[in-house]
């Protein structure tokens, strides 16, 4: 089998899976183990780039992974949205691997081999989600992702980690099995297929009432999207080591959730149907509420990672909001937010990890004056914050813009208030972190004198911060890339 679209699609799963298989074998030799991770990351990225290009040319590579019976076929089909998701997950895997090296060694974490292994598995699952050709495939990889990240969340293994892990697993499994699966079955029942198709599957097979019910099932069933009542797993998952939080809870897991949400709206219901349903409107409002409420909660958190977690909840709801507004521009905003938020938030998490590695501090109030000792880290944090807030010229400003456009296009201009309020709240809870590091006098200057920053916890956040900046200028390309999957209209 020569290298071609199909092979590349296979490799999408095989490369990380192979890495996951090889890493335990190299468990005794950390350097080899990490080299494997990095090489696999590079190979995967190259592969993804090839596929992204291919998809950009209008091709939709497709393979039948496992010939199940009928609707249960596990098959992969890459389309632009998935290509984008695969691209960010694979690219950030590399950066995060570098960071992981610095973090894990810097903190002398135990069970590092297990850690790398499960990260590789999680990446494989994320790739599967990205390329899922139908709801069943999506569901399969979705569950795989949940399970493979569970050991990562509970990596520390103490009572707190287990409790967090239990909530993590409990909520994600309960929602996916309890709501998502019935929704998929309902979809299959009504549409007769679960294969994704641009414009939706139902073709008028269901009325808005049934569609509303299904949409609600999906929205809450996709627990990874952390819409407000089912968001509790996310803060609890923050017991994980920071690289996990960074990669999985800024990129892979949560983005898998919102990616699924977007896919469901785009390919299962079709934006038209969503915008006609009452549930769509309700969910849009709920997402708006999530955005604001999570921001307010974030404001109250002194623990840096908890604050970031709630910030993530808030930011993810942007995507849900975009999906539920279902106007072309709003969907585009959602798609962009997946990319931009990933780069922004991973920066923040890595900075939090870098700070923890250097000084073992976790609370925002302990960071006074630290910025002067760790200018690069805090600088990166500042840039990441600005991107999350949505300040130009950083990537994060585009999705907000698109969402506003979409909301107004859809005649839901009032929702803009939530976006505006959220921007302000973002300033209020993110900016102080970096700024007090630079401005406020140090709490304990003596302790700060002997800070050791491993190089590999400093460089990755700087890279991603730069990425968040650079992406601002490439938003147009991403938008053009995504345009084929969106309905015509809007911008």
């Amino acid at each position: 089998m020569s290298y071609g679209p199909e092979m590349a699609l296979w490799l999408l799963l095989i490369i990380p899976a192979l890495a996951a298989a090889l890493i335990p074998m190299a468990g005794k030799a950390p350097n080899i183990r990490e080299a494997i991770t990095l090489i696999a990351g590079a190979a995967l990225l190259a592969n993804v780039i090839y596929l992204v290009r291919l998809v950009g040319l209008g091709e939709r590579p497709e393979i039948l992974l496992v010939p199940f019976a009928g609707p249960l076929d596990i098959k992969l089909t890459l389309e632009p949205l998935g290509a984008i998701f695969a691209a960010i997950a694979s690219s950030l895997w590399i950066v995060n691997s570098l960071f992981t090296v610095g973090y894990m060694r810097g903190n002398n974490e135990k069970n590092q081999t297990r850690f790398y292994t499960y990260v590789a598995i999680a990446i494989a699952a994320a790739m599967g989600i990205a390329a899922a050709g139908n709801l069943i495939t999506l569901f399969v990889f979705y569950e795989a992702l949940t399970l493979s990240t569970y050991p990562l969340v509970t990596h520390k293994g103490d009572a707190k980690a287990r409790r967090g892990g239990r909530i993590y697993l409990g909520i994600l499994m309960a929602t996916s099995l309890g709501l998502l699966l019935p929704a998929i079955i309902g979809t299959y029942y009504f549409a007769g297929t679960t294969d994704f198709a641009v414009g939706g599957l139902f073709n008028g097979a269901i009325g808005t009432g049934v569609a509303s019910v299904l949409l609600l099932l999906f929205a809450f069933g996709i627990g990874k999207a952390a819409l407000m009542p089912v968001h509790m797993w996310l803060p609890n998952a923050m017991v994980a080591p920071t690289p996990v939080s960074a990669l999985l809870h800024a990129v892979a897991v949560v983005k898998a959730g919102v990616f699924t949400m977007l896919k469901v709206v785009l390919y299962v219901f079709g934006p038209d149907l969503v915008s006609q349903t009452g549930a769509g409107t309700f969910l849009a409002w709920l997402a708006a509420f999530s955005i604001v409420a999570a921001s307010i909660i974030a404001l109250r958190k002194d623990n840096l990672k908890a604050r970031l977690a709630y910030s993530t909840v808030s930011q993810l709801s942007y995507i849900t909001l975009g999906a539920m507004i279902a106007a072309p521009a709003a969907l585009m905003g959602g798609g962009l937010q997946i990319v931009m938020h990933a780069w922004g938030k991973i920066t923040l998490f890595m900075c939090a990890g870098a700070i923890y590695t250097a000084v073992k501090r976790t609370e925002v109030s302990q960071l006074d004056g630290l910025g002067r000792k760790m200018p690069w880290v805090f600088g990166a944090f500042l840039v990441g914050s600005a991107s999350i807030i949505g300040l130009p010229p950083l990537g994060g400003s585009w999705p907000k813009f698109m969402l506003m456009v979409g909301a107004i296009d859809a005649g839901k201009a009032v929702l803009i208030a939530a976006l505006i309020l959220s921007s302000l709240l973002n300033v209020a809870y993110l900016m102080p972190v970096a700024i007090r590091g630079f401005l406020k006098p140090a709490n304990d200057p003596a302790a700060d004198a002997a800070i050791v920053q491993p190089i590999w916890v400093v460089i990755p956040p700087v890279i991603t911060a730069a990425g968040a900046f650079i992406l601002f200028f490439f938003a147009g390309d991403i938008i053009d890339y995504l345009r084929p999957v969106l309905p015509a209209g809007g911008l």
Binding site: R300, A386, D409, L419, I420, S423, V427, A475, R483, L491
Partner: protein, 579 residues
């Protein structure tokens, strides 16, 4: 200069220079860049305008048509003055070895320039937010005490930006374009109000003004000078471009001219006094825009030019004081003219300019605005403006120089300001006088104005005008002297003067804290309730299903067989009734 370069928004040059500054570690290189960049940009503007570039830099990003560069008479005047302000800052801050400040000041300058050169609302928004992002570092350059003020500043500006954006998008949704043109935009279009409020935040509309007095006095010495120039003038430009002739602006402007006067008189921090005075001056401009006649717009444009210069001059002088003494509080100062004569001179010129003494800067333009208001028969507003003029005389014209440099001797003997500051002040002073010089001076300003031919119709230096203006000012000075002599002039006391921001710094924060506390309580209580409920459920479940529970004790076979029989009965009954 190639045609291509000419079609690039010159703000980008300065931004690029700013980024260069951020990267270059060499002090001297940075400073050179800081001085050269505005000159280059001004040259680009000049060449571009000479070449007749109207709209340029069109591009399409993500399906949105952008016009990144618009060079017409209205934007040109703002462009020149922004370049000049950048230059002034370059000189004034020459001594300062601050990496971040240099870069952010330049980027801020560039963003301001870019904003006024923006041809569409989206470009405007981008630069608009960029000014916020870059300028906040200048505030924070003021040190730890500027921390919170900087955050508030940033919050306000982000709010301003997103409101503008939201309005712009609504406007786009309505009109199909982001093109920024006053003929089509106004309060009547969807999003018009949002845009105006967004702009109004930056322009310091009443109730939305507090960030100015909050952040500027806390910014660094050099930062304040830059800050005072761009954000607010950019907003004035946006108003002039988009909302000229909206009547409500007249009244907003009138209120803006009035209320700062009262605050300024009781404020102790002289830089804060200047911030209030800035607000008051903006009121004149807003008022002029509200009138919207050609004369008014000319007056506004001219006022902007001059205001940038004299306000910079005043802030520079206060900056020099702060730089040398370490405080700018009136109660701590006094008698500084003994050691800082040149600074004193500059401050006096600035004071005279802002108070609109004949032959000094604001005399011409302020009169134009007032006359325009008068001609449109807004007599009450006219009186307000006159009242405000007297007020200006009070706080900027007399209070600032008097308490800083004269008054009683504080015993402080600071050194004269560094040469570069003096140079910058001198330059500004020169322009303050030149641009109001009756013989050939103010005509230069007229030539810059949006409608020079109409501007020419207004002759400022009539005997009557000069006399009445002098009369007003002397009357004010007389009142000052009299009140001082009678001892009813309020002494300068250190205090925190409440402003509207009290609303969100005190009750709002208190409410938030209350919500926080209540939230914590509710959380605790709710958590406890949930915990209790959950453990209750668990206990019940446990009592039912655990090995010790009712359901799963090892049932004796007798019970099980009874169950079996019961099942049989059930089955038979079912079949009996169904079959």
């Amino acid at each position: 200069m190639s045609d291509l370069l000419m079609t690039i928004n010159p703000g980008l040059f300065i931004i690029a220079a700013g980024m260069l500054c951020a990267l270059v570690p060499l002090h001297s290189v940075r400073k050179t860049v800081m001085i050269l960049a505005p000159i280059v940009a001004a040259y680009a503007l000049f060449k571009g305008y000479s070449a007749g570039i109207g709209l340029a830099g069109e591009m399409t990003i993500a399906g949105i048509d952008l016009t990144t560069y618009r060079l017409d008479r209205l934007s040109l005047i703002w462009g020149y003055v922004f370049c000049f302000a950048g230059l002034l800052n370059g000189i004034f801050a020459f001594h300062e070895k601050a990496h971040i400040s240099d870069a952010s000041a330049l980027i801020y300058t560039g963003a301001g320039l870019g904003a006024v050169m923006a041809g569409d609302l989206l470009t405007l928004f981008l630069f608009w937010e960029l000014t916020a992002v870059s300028s906040v570092f200048l505030v924070w350059a003021g040190g730890p005490r500027a921390y919170a003020a900087g955050l508030r500043y940033l919050g306000m500006h982000v709010l301003s930006g997103v409101l503008l954006l939201a309005g712009a998008i609504m406007y786009q949704n309505y009109s199909g374009t982001f093109f920024f043109d006053g003929n089509e935009i106004g309060l009547g279009v969807p999003g018009g109000w949002l845009m105006m409020i967004g702009i109004g935040i930056k322009a310091g509309f009443p109730l939305l003004h507090t960030w100015i007095q909050d952040a500027y006095p806390k910014a660094s010495v050099t930062g304040t000078v830059v800050l005072a120039t761009f954000s607010t003038k950019m907003a004035i430009y946006a108003l002039a471009r988009g909302f000229a002739g909206e009547e409500i602006l007249i009244y907003i402007g009138a209120v803006m001219t009035l209320f700062p006067v009262f605050f300024a008189v009781i404020e102790n921090d002289l830089r804060k006094v200047l911030a209030y005075s800035l607000n008051n001056q903006l009121g004149f401009m807003v008022c002029g825009i509200g009138v919207g006649t050609a004369m008014a717009m000319n007056g506004v444009a001219g006022q902007v030019v001059l205001h940038v210069i004299f306000k910079a001059l005043l802030f520079m002088s206060m900056g020099a004081v702060l730089h040398r003494v370490g405080t700018a509080k009136a109660s701590e100062l006094g008698g500084l003219f003994r050691t800082m004569p040149w600074t004193t001179m500059a401050c006096l010129i600035g004071a005279a300019s802002i108070a609109a003494f004949p032959m000094f800067a604001a005399f011409v333009t302020k009169a134009m605005i007032i006359a325009a208001v008068f001609e449109e028969h807004h007599y009450i507003v006219y009186l307000c403006l006159l009242f405000a003029s007297a007020g200006v005389m009070e706080h900027s014209g007399i209070k600032v120089p008097y308490f800083a440099f004269f008054s009683h001797d504080s015993g402080k003997r600071p050194k004269e300001a560094p040469w570069n500051m003096l140079l910058a002040m001198g330059l500004a002073s020169l322009f303050c006088i030149v641009l109001a010089w009756p013989w050939g001076g103010y005509q230069m300003l007229y030539n810059l104005m949006p409608m020079p031919e109409i501007a020419g119709e207004y002759v400022p230096y009539t005997v009557n005008h000069v006399i009445t203006q002098l009369q007003l000012l002397f009357a004010a000075m007389f009142a000052f002297a009299l009140l001082k002599r009678l001892g009813v002039y309020p002494p300068e006391r250190r205090a925190q003067i409440l402003d509207f921001d009290w609303l969100w710094r005190r009750p709002a924060v208190a409410t938030l804290k209350w919500i926080d506390v209540m939230g914590a309580r509710v959380e605790a209580y709710g958590g406890l309730t949930v915990k209790r409920g959950w453990s209750g459920i668990q206990r019940r479940l446990f009592a039912m299903f655990s090995p010790a529970g009712a359901m799963s004790q090892d049932a004796p076979s007798g019970i099980a067989s009874v169950l079996t029989a019961a099942m049989l009965g059930l089955a038979i009954a079912l079949l009996y009734f169904v079959g």
